[in-house]
Protein backbone atom coordinates (compact mmCIF):
# COMPACT_ATOMS: atom_id res chain seq x y z
CA UNK A 1 0.00 0.00 0.00
CA UNK A 2 2.67 2.43 0.94
CA UNK A 3 5.84 3.00 -0.90
CA UNK A 4 8.86 4.72 0.42
CA UNK A 5 9.97 7.30 -1.99
CA UNK A 6 13.33 8.80 -2.35
CA UNK A 7 13.24 11.51 -4.85
CA UNK A 8 13.57 15.19 -5.11
CA UNK A 9 11.39 17.12 -7.43
CA UNK A 10 11.30 20.84 -7.44
CA UNK A 11 8.44 22.60 -9.01
CA UNK A 12 7.45 26.15 -8.92
CA UNK A 13 3.91 27.04 -9.54
CA UNK A 14 2.78 30.51 -8.88
CA UNK A 15 -0.82 30.72 -9.92
CA UNK A 16 -3.50 33.26 -9.48
CA UNK A 17 -4.09 31.99 -6.02
CA UNK A 18 -0.57 32.76 -5.05
CA UNK A 19 0.11 29.14 -4.28
CA UNK A 20 3.74 28.21 -4.46
CA UNK A 21 5.04 24.71 -4.28
CA UNK A 22 8.56 23.52 -4.24
CA UNK A 23 9.66 20.50 -2.37
CA UNK A 24 11.52 17.28 -2.10
CA UNK A 25 9.69 14.10 -1.48
CA UNK A 26 11.70 12.10 0.93
CA UNK A 27 10.85 8.97 2.65
CA UNK A 28 7.26 9.75 3.52
CA UNK A 29 4.53 7.25 3.00
CA UNK A 30 2.70 7.71 -0.20
CA UNK A 31 -0.04 5.89 -1.91
CA UNK A 32 1.12 4.01 -4.92
CA UNK A 33 -2.15 4.70 -6.55
CA UNK A 34 -2.28 8.35 -5.81
CA UNK A 35 0.10 10.62 -7.47
CA UNK A 36 -0.77 14.18 -6.98
CA UNK A 37 0.85 17.56 -6.79
CA UNK A 38 1.18 17.00 -3.07
CA UNK A 39 3.95 14.51 -3.64
CA UNK A 40 6.10 17.32 -4.88
CA UNK A 41 6.04 18.74 -1.39
CA UNK A 42 7.64 17.52 1.75
CA UNK A 43 6.99 17.14 5.42
CA UNK A 44 4.07 18.97 6.93
CA UNK A 45 3.49 20.91 3.74
CA UNK A 46 2.90 17.67 1.94
CA UNK A 47 0.62 16.41 4.67
CA UNK A 48 -1.32 19.63 4.64
CA UNK A 49 -1.68 19.39 0.87
CA UNK A 50 -3.08 15.87 1.14
CA UNK A 51 -5.31 17.06 3.97
CA UNK A 52 -6.82 19.63 1.64
CA UNK A 53 -7.32 16.96 -0.98
CA UNK A 54 -9.11 14.79 1.55
CA UNK A 55 -11.41 17.58 2.62
CA UNK A 56 -12.37 18.14 -1.00
CA UNK A 57 -13.46 14.53 -1.54
CA UNK A 58 -17.21 14.25 -2.10
CA UNK A 59 -19.33 12.57 0.54
CA UNK A 60 -20.01 9.65 -1.77
CA UNK A 61 -16.38 8.51 -1.64
CA UNK A 62 -15.49 7.54 1.93
CA UNK A 63 -13.11 4.85 0.71
CA UNK A 64 -11.13 7.52 -1.05
CA UNK A 65 -10.88 9.41 2.22
CA UNK A 66 -9.43 6.40 3.99
CA UNK A 67 -7.01 5.79 1.18
CA UNK A 68 -5.77 9.34 1.06
CA UNK A 69 -5.70 9.80 4.81
CA UNK A 70 -3.21 6.99 5.01
CA UNK A 71 -0.85 9.15 2.99
CA UNK A 72 -0.75 11.74 5.75
CA UNK A 73 2.16 11.07 8.06
CA UNK A 74 1.40 13.59 10.76
CA UNK A 75 -1.28 12.25 13.10
CA UNK A 76 -2.66 15.68 13.93
CA UNK A 77 -3.09 16.67 10.30
CA UNK A 78 -4.52 13.24 9.50
CA UNK A 79 -6.95 13.48 12.39
CA UNK A 80 -8.11 16.92 11.35
CA UNK A 81 -8.68 15.71 7.81
CA UNK A 82 -10.66 12.62 8.73
CA UNK A 83 -12.57 14.07 11.66
CA UNK A 84 -13.49 17.18 9.73
CA UNK A 85 -14.53 15.19 6.68
CA UNK A 86 -16.78 12.88 8.69
CA UNK A 87 -18.39 15.85 10.41
CA UNK A 88 -19.07 17.50 7.12
CA UNK A 89 -20.47 14.45 5.38
CA UNK A 90 -22.12 12.57 8.21
CA UNK A 91 -25.50 12.85 6.55
CA UNK A 92 -24.29 11.03 3.47
CA UNK A 93 -22.21 8.33 5.09
CA UNK A 94 -23.24 4.70 5.33
CA UNK A 95 -22.73 3.78 8.96
CA UNK A 96 -20.15 1.10 8.34
CA UNK A 97 -18.10 3.38 6.13
CA UNK A 98 -18.25 6.10 8.73
CA UNK A 99 -17.23 3.69 11.46
CA UNK A 100 -14.23 2.61 9.44
CA UNK A 101 -13.17 6.22 9.13
CA UNK A 102 -13.71 6.86 12.83
CA UNK A 103 -11.37 3.98 13.56
CA UNK A 104 -8.60 5.97 11.91
CA UNK A 105 -8.86 8.51 14.70
CA UNK A 106 -7.45 8.34 18.17
CA UNK A 107 -8.67 8.81 21.72
CA UNK A 108 -11.66 10.94 22.46
CA UNK A 109 -11.88 12.09 18.88
CA UNK A 110 -12.54 8.52 17.85
CA UNK A 111 -15.27 8.23 20.47
CA UNK A 112 -16.96 11.40 19.36
CA UNK A 113 -16.67 10.43 15.73
CA UNK A 114 -18.63 7.27 16.48
CA UNK A 115 -21.05 9.28 18.58
CA UNK A 116 -21.64 11.58 15.66
CA UNK A 117 -22.61 8.62 13.51
CA UNK A 118 -24.97 7.18 16.08
CA UNK A 119 -26.71 10.30 17.34
CA UNK A 120 -29.65 11.32 15.18
CA UNK A 121 -29.65 14.82 16.57
CA UNK A 122 -26.20 15.32 15.09
CA UNK A 123 -27.22 14.18 11.66
CA UNK A 124 -29.92 16.63 10.84
Amino acid sequence: MHATRSFCIATLALGLSGAVAVGCGQGGPASEAASTGCDAKAGMERDRCVHDEVRAIPGSQPDEVARNASRISDPMIRGAAVSGWVAEHVDELPVEKGQALCELLEGRDKSYCHRRLSSPHLQR
Binding site: G18, V22, M44, M76, D91, G107, K110, S111, Y112, R115
Partner: protein, 337 residues
Protein backbone atom coordinates in the same frame (compact mmCIF):
# COMPACT_ATOMS: atom_id res chain seq x y z
CA UNK B 1 -7.43 38.11 9.65
CA UNK B 2 -4.92 35.58 8.61
CA UNK B 3 -2.20 36.43 6.25
CA UNK B 4 -0.47 33.84 4.20
CA UNK B 5 3.14 34.10 3.33
CA UNK B 6 4.90 32.07 0.77
CA UNK B 7 8.60 32.41 0.57
CA UNK B 8 10.75 31.70 -2.37
CA UNK B 9 13.93 30.57 -0.80
CA UNK B 10 16.46 31.83 -3.21
CA UNK B 11 15.09 35.25 -3.71
CA UNK B 12 13.69 35.55 -0.23
CA UNK B 13 10.54 36.61 -1.92
CA UNK B 14 7.52 36.69 0.24
CA UNK B 15 4.05 36.80 -1.05
CA UNK B 16 1.64 38.00 1.51
CA UNK B 17 -1.88 37.24 0.60
CA UNK B 18 -4.52 38.89 2.66
CA UNK B 19 -7.00 36.20 2.05
CA UNK B 20 -10.12 37.77 3.37
CA UNK B 21 -9.51 41.03 1.58
CA UNK B 22 -8.55 39.24 -1.57
CA UNK B 23 -5.49 41.35 -2.03
CA UNK B 24 -2.00 40.25 -2.78
CA UNK B 25 1.14 42.09 -1.87
CA UNK B 26 4.66 41.10 -2.73
CA UNK B 27 7.60 42.19 -0.72
CA UNK B 28 11.08 41.13 0.13
CA UNK B 29 11.40 39.69 3.59
CA UNK B 30 13.29 37.18 5.63
CA UNK B 31 12.20 33.56 5.59
CA UNK B 32 9.56 33.29 8.24
CA UNK B 33 8.65 29.79 7.29
CA UNK B 34 11.92 27.99 7.54
CA UNK B 35 10.68 25.80 10.34
CA UNK B 36 7.79 24.62 8.28
CA UNK B 37 9.53 22.82 5.55
CA UNK B 38 12.03 20.36 6.87
CA UNK B 39 13.55 19.69 3.50
CA UNK B 40 17.22 19.44 4.34
CA UNK B 41 19.32 21.64 2.24
CA UNK B 42 16.37 22.44 0.10
CA UNK B 43 15.07 25.80 -0.67
CA UNK B 44 11.46 25.37 0.12
CA UNK B 45 8.66 27.64 -0.67
CA UNK B 46 6.25 27.28 2.17
CA UNK B 47 3.03 28.99 3.01
CA UNK B 48 2.66 30.15 6.56
CA UNK B 49 0.16 31.93 8.69
CA UNK B 50 0.81 33.97 11.76
CA UNK B 51 -1.03 32.97 14.88
CA UNK B 52 -0.74 33.77 18.53
CA UNK B 53 1.20 31.11 20.39
CA UNK B 54 -0.95 28.84 22.50
CA UNK B 55 1.83 28.08 24.93
CA UNK B 56 1.36 24.41 24.20
CA UNK B 57 4.49 23.28 22.37
CA UNK B 58 2.81 20.23 20.92
CA UNK B 59 0.31 22.44 19.14
CA UNK B 60 2.48 25.44 18.49
CA UNK B 61 4.41 23.21 16.11
CA UNK B 62 1.42 23.67 13.82
CA UNK B 63 0.96 27.35 14.54
CA UNK B 64 2.41 28.58 11.28
CA UNK B 65 0.86 25.88 9.17
CA UNK B 66 -2.17 27.01 7.21
CA UNK B 67 -5.28 24.98 7.71
CA UNK B 68 -6.91 23.39 10.68
CA UNK B 69 -4.17 21.29 12.26
CA UNK B 70 -3.38 23.94 14.88
CA UNK B 71 -7.02 24.25 15.93
CA UNK B 72 -7.50 20.50 15.85
CA UNK B 73 -4.46 20.04 18.07
CA UNK B 74 -5.83 22.52 20.61
CA UNK B 75 -9.13 20.65 20.59
CA UNK B 76 -7.28 17.40 21.18
CA UNK B 77 -5.49 18.69 24.27
CA UNK B 78 -8.42 20.68 25.64
CA UNK B 79 -9.43 18.03 28.16
CA UNK B 80 -6.28 18.69 30.13
CA UNK B 81 -6.70 22.42 30.49
CA UNK B 82 -6.82 23.36 34.16
CA UNK B 83 -9.42 26.08 34.37
CA UNK B 84 -11.99 28.14 32.56
CA UNK B 85 -9.58 30.95 31.84
CA UNK B 86 -7.25 28.53 30.08
CA UNK B 87 -10.13 27.11 28.10
CA UNK B 88 -11.27 30.53 26.99
CA UNK B 89 -7.77 31.49 25.96
CA UNK B 90 -6.67 28.26 24.29
CA UNK B 91 -9.96 27.33 22.67
CA UNK B 92 -10.27 30.90 21.52
CA UNK B 93 -7.27 30.20 19.31
CA UNK B 94 -8.72 27.03 17.83
CA UNK B 95 -10.57 28.75 15.00
CA UNK B 96 -13.04 26.32 13.41
CA UNK B 97 -12.41 23.85 16.20
CA UNK B 98 -13.27 26.25 19.02
CA UNK B 99 -16.69 24.77 19.64
CA UNK B 100 -15.29 21.26 19.77
CA UNK B 101 -12.44 22.44 21.96
CA UNK B 102 -14.88 23.85 24.48
CA UNK B 103 -17.03 20.75 24.28
CA UNK B 104 -14.01 18.55 24.86
CA UNK B 105 -13.19 20.33 28.08
CA UNK B 106 -16.76 20.41 29.34
CA UNK B 107 -17.17 16.71 28.57
CA UNK B 108 -14.56 15.96 31.18
CA UNK B 109 -16.24 18.12 33.81
CA UNK B 110 -19.84 17.06 33.44
CA UNK B 111 -19.83 14.81 36.44
CA UNK B 112 -21.43 16.58 39.38
CA UNK B 113 -18.31 15.75 41.37
CA UNK B 114 -16.22 17.96 39.12
CA UNK B 115 -16.96 21.03 41.28
CA UNK B 116 -17.87 23.02 38.23
CA UNK B 117 -21.39 24.41 38.33
CA UNK B 118 -23.89 24.05 35.53
CA UNK B 119 -23.74 27.78 35.03
CA UNK B 120 -19.98 27.69 34.53
CA UNK B 121 -20.08 24.73 32.19
CA UNK B 122 -22.90 26.17 30.13
CA UNK B 123 -20.92 29.35 29.78
CA UNK B 124 -17.91 27.37 28.59
CA UNK B 125 -20.06 25.52 26.05
CA UNK B 126 -20.80 28.94 24.67
CA UNK B 127 -22.41 28.57 21.26
CA UNK B 128 -21.89 24.83 20.93
CA UNK B 129 -25.45 23.58 21.26
CA UNK B 130 -24.38 19.94 21.27
CA UNK B 131 -22.13 20.65 24.24
CA UNK B 132 -24.99 22.30 26.13
CA UNK B 133 -27.43 19.57 25.16
CA UNK B 134 -25.10 16.84 26.28
CA UNK B 135 -24.46 18.63 29.54
CA UNK B 136 -28.15 19.22 30.19
CA UNK B 137 -28.86 15.59 29.46
CA UNK B 138 -26.03 14.34 31.61
CA UNK B 139 -26.64 16.56 34.59
CA UNK B 140 -30.34 17.32 34.46
CA UNK B 141 -31.99 19.49 37.05
CA UNK B 142 -34.22 17.79 39.55
CA UNK B 143 -36.80 20.40 38.74
CA UNK B 144 -38.62 19.86 35.46
CA UNK B 145 -39.39 23.55 35.14
CA UNK B 146 -35.73 24.44 35.51
CA UNK B 147 -34.67 21.78 33.06
CA UNK B 148 -37.17 22.89 30.45
CA UNK B 149 -36.07 26.48 30.86
CA UNK B 150 -32.43 25.54 30.51
CA UNK B 151 -33.24 23.55 27.39
CA UNK B 152 -34.93 26.59 25.94
CA UNK B 153 -32.12 28.95 26.85
CA UNK B 154 -29.04 26.89 26.18
CA UNK B 155 -29.68 23.89 23.96
CA UNK B 156 -29.98 25.99 20.83
CA UNK B 157 -30.93 23.90 17.85
CA UNK B 158 -31.28 20.88 20.10
CA UNK B 159 -33.78 22.60 22.42
CA UNK B 160 -36.70 20.54 21.16
CA UNK B 161 -34.86 17.27 21.69
CA UNK B 162 -33.67 18.48 25.07
CA UNK B 163 -37.27 19.26 26.00
CA UNK B 164 -38.35 15.81 24.90
CA UNK B 165 -35.65 14.18 26.98
CA UNK B 166 -36.58 16.26 30.02
CA UNK B 167 -40.22 15.31 29.69
CA UNK B 168 -39.33 11.68 29.19
CA UNK B 169 -37.40 11.70 32.45
CA UNK B 170 -40.25 13.48 34.14
CA UNK B 171 -42.72 10.88 32.97
CA UNK B 172 -40.49 8.01 33.99
CA UNK B 173 -40.24 9.37 37.51
CA UNK B 174 -43.83 8.47 38.02
CA UNK B 175 -46.07 11.48 38.08
CA UNK B 176 -49.42 12.06 39.71
CA UNK B 177 -52.54 13.87 38.58
CA UNK B 178 -51.50 17.07 40.31
CA UNK B 179 -48.11 17.11 38.64
CA UNK B 180 -49.62 16.46 35.22
CA UNK B 181 -51.98 19.37 35.69
CA UNK B 182 -49.19 21.63 36.88
CA UNK B 183 -46.95 20.92 33.90
CA UNK B 184 -49.84 21.07 31.43
CA UNK B 185 -50.59 24.58 32.62
CA UNK B 186 -47.11 25.85 31.75
CA UNK B 187 -46.54 27.50 28.39
CA UNK B 188 -43.85 25.84 26.35
CA UNK B 189 -41.73 26.71 23.37
CA UNK B 190 -42.18 23.10 22.30
CA UNK B 191 -45.79 22.24 23.09
CA UNK B 192 -45.83 19.04 21.09
CA UNK B 193 -42.83 17.65 22.92
CA UNK B 194 -44.46 18.45 26.24
CA UNK B 195 -47.86 17.38 25.00
CA UNK B 196 -46.56 14.02 23.86
CA UNK B 197 -45.41 13.04 27.32
CA UNK B 198 -48.43 14.50 29.02
CA UNK B 199 -50.54 12.38 26.70
CA UNK B 200 -48.49 9.35 27.61
CA UNK B 201 -49.53 9.88 31.22
CA UNK B 202 -53.11 10.70 30.37
CA UNK B 203 -53.84 7.98 27.83
CA UNK B 204 -51.28 5.28 28.44
CA UNK B 205 -51.17 5.48 32.25
CA UNK B 206 -54.61 6.98 32.91
CA UNK B 207 -53.09 9.68 35.03
CA UNK B 208 -54.39 13.24 34.86
CA UNK B 209 -55.83 15.21 31.99
CA UNK B 210 -54.58 17.43 29.19
CA UNK B 211 -56.27 20.57 30.50
CA UNK B 212 -53.85 23.44 30.69
CA UNK B 213 -52.04 25.87 28.45
CA UNK B 214 -53.86 26.08 25.13
CA UNK B 215 -51.02 24.99 22.86
CA UNK B 216 -49.84 22.28 25.21
CA UNK B 217 -53.37 21.04 25.76
CA UNK B 218 -54.04 20.91 22.04
CA UNK B 219 -50.87 18.92 21.43
CA UNK B 220 -51.67 16.64 24.33
CA UNK B 221 -55.19 15.96 23.13
CA UNK B 222 -54.02 15.17 19.63
CA UNK B 223 -51.49 12.75 20.99
CA UNK B 224 -54.07 11.19 23.29
CA UNK B 225 -56.13 10.45 20.21
CA UNK B 226 -53.10 8.95 18.50
CA UNK B 227 -52.34 6.72 21.48
CA UNK B 228 -55.99 5.72 21.68
CA UNK B 229 -55.88 4.62 18.06
CA UNK B 230 -52.58 2.84 18.45
CA UNK B 231 -51.95 1.92 22.06
CA UNK B 232 -48.90 -0.03 21.02
CA UNK B 233 -47.24 3.31 20.41
CA UNK B 234 -47.36 4.20 24.06
CA UNK B 235 -43.83 4.76 25.33
CA UNK B 236 -42.22 2.10 27.40
CA UNK B 237 -42.77 2.36 31.09
CA UNK B 238 -39.63 0.47 31.81
CA UNK B 239 -36.77 2.45 33.15
CA UNK B 240 -33.33 1.68 31.98
CA UNK B 241 -31.03 0.67 34.79
CA UNK B 242 -30.16 3.56 36.98
CA UNK B 243 -26.61 4.65 37.29
CA UNK B 244 -24.97 3.76 40.50
CA UNK B 245 -25.33 6.44 43.10
CA UNK B 246 -28.60 7.69 41.77
CA UNK B 247 -31.94 7.53 43.39
CA UNK B 248 -35.15 6.75 41.72
CA UNK B 249 -37.24 8.93 43.92
CA UNK B 250 -40.15 10.30 41.99
CA UNK B 251 -42.19 13.35 42.81
CA UNK B 252 -44.10 11.63 45.55
CA UNK B 253 -41.02 10.37 47.28
CA UNK B 254 -39.28 13.62 46.66
CA UNK B 255 -42.04 15.58 48.23
CA UNK B 256 -42.07 13.20 51.15
CA UNK B 257 -38.39 13.89 51.54
CA UNK B 258 -38.95 17.61 51.42
CA UNK B 259 -37.35 17.77 48.01
CA UNK B 260 -39.33 19.36 45.27
CA UNK B 261 -39.60 18.12 41.76
CA UNK B 262 -38.26 15.01 40.24
CA UNK B 263 -35.42 12.88 41.24
CA UNK B 264 -33.26 12.54 38.22
CA UNK B 265 -33.29 9.29 36.41
CA UNK B 266 -30.02 8.42 34.91
CA UNK B 267 -31.09 5.82 32.46
CA UNK B 268 -33.79 7.27 30.39
CA UNK B 269 -35.24 4.76 28.02
CA UNK B 270 -33.75 5.63 24.73
CA UNK B 271 -31.94 8.35 26.52
CA UNK B 272 -28.38 9.20 27.29
CA UNK B 273 -25.94 6.45 26.74
CA UNK B 274 -22.29 5.90 26.57
CA UNK B 275 -20.70 5.27 23.27
CA UNK B 276 -17.32 4.51 22.01
CA UNK B 277 -15.02 4.83 24.92
CA UNK B 278 -17.26 6.76 27.16
CA UNK B 279 -18.78 9.43 25.03
CA UNK B 280 -22.03 10.50 26.45
CA UNK B 281 -24.70 10.19 23.90
CA UNK B 282 -27.79 12.26 24.16
CA UNK B 283 -30.60 10.11 23.05
CA UNK B 284 -32.41 10.40 19.79
CA UNK B 285 -35.33 12.69 19.65
CA UNK B 286 -38.21 11.56 21.69
CA UNK B 287 -41.08 9.95 19.91
CA UNK B 288 -43.63 11.97 18.14
CA UNK B 289 -43.44 13.95 14.97
CA UNK B 290 -41.56 17.18 14.82
CA UNK B 291 -43.97 19.78 16.00
CA UNK B 292 -45.19 22.07 13.31
CA UNK B 293 -44.11 25.55 14.02
CA UNK B 294 -41.48 24.47 16.46
CA UNK B 295 -37.86 24.79 15.57
CA UNK B 296 -36.41 21.69 14.03
CA UNK B 297 -32.98 20.57 14.90
CA UNK B 298 -30.39 21.27 12.32
CA UNK B 299 -26.98 19.89 11.77
CA UNK B 300 -25.01 18.52 14.58
CA UNK B 301 -22.24 19.97 16.54
CA UNK B 302 -19.70 21.67 14.86
CA UNK B 303 -22.20 23.29 12.75
CA UNK B 304 -21.20 26.68 13.85
CA UNK B 305 -19.64 26.69 10.46
CA UNK B 306 -20.70 24.84 7.39
CA UNK B 307 -19.35 21.39 7.92
CA UNK B 308 -17.86 21.68 11.21
CA UNK B 309 -15.34 19.32 12.63
CA UNK B 310 -16.04 16.35 14.67
CA UNK B 311 -17.46 16.07 18.07
CA UNK B 312 -15.88 17.17 21.23
CA UNK B 313 -13.99 14.98 23.50
CA UNK B 314 -15.47 12.16 25.36
CA UNK B 315 -14.43 11.44 28.82
CA UNK B 316 -15.09 8.48 30.97
CA UNK B 317 -18.41 8.76 32.57
CA UNK B 318 -17.83 8.19 36.22
CA UNK B 319 -20.39 5.90 37.71
CA UNK B 320 -21.49 7.72 40.82
CA UNK B 321 -23.27 10.74 39.52
CA UNK B 322 -25.03 12.65 42.22
CA UNK B 323 -27.47 15.26 41.17
CA UNK B 324 -27.89 18.33 43.19
CA UNK B 325 -31.13 20.20 43.11
CA UNK B 326 -31.14 22.41 40.10
CA UNK B 327 -31.24 26.12 40.25
CA UNK B 328 -32.36 28.44 37.57
CA UNK B 329 -29.29 30.02 36.07
CA UNK B 330 -30.44 33.52 36.75
CA UNK B 331 -27.03 34.98 36.25
CA UNK B 332 -26.66 33.75 32.71
CA UNK B 333 -27.86 35.64 29.72
CA UNK B 334 -30.22 33.97 27.32
CA UNK B 335 -28.52 32.08 24.55
CA UNK B 336 -28.74 33.59 21.16
CA UNK B 337 -28.53 30.42 19.13
Amino acid sequence: MASQTAVGAGAALSIVGIVAAGTLAISGSPRPAAELDPTPGGEPLAATVEREPSGIPQCDAYRSLPGEAFGYCLYKIAGGLPDVASVNRVCGLAEDWEGECRHAWVAGKMNADSSFSMETLLEVCDKNADCSFELLDFRPSDLIDTQLERCRLYAGKHAADCTGHAMQRWKLQGVDEEEVARVAAQPSAFPRKVGFWLAASVECDSIGACDGNAAVQDACERQVEAFARKPEQCPSKVKAPLQRGKTAAGPREARAQGRPGNGSVGGVVGGGGVAGGGAVVPSPPTPGPAPAGEPKSQRGPGSQRGGKPGGGAATKRSPPVRHTPGTIPAGLPPRSD
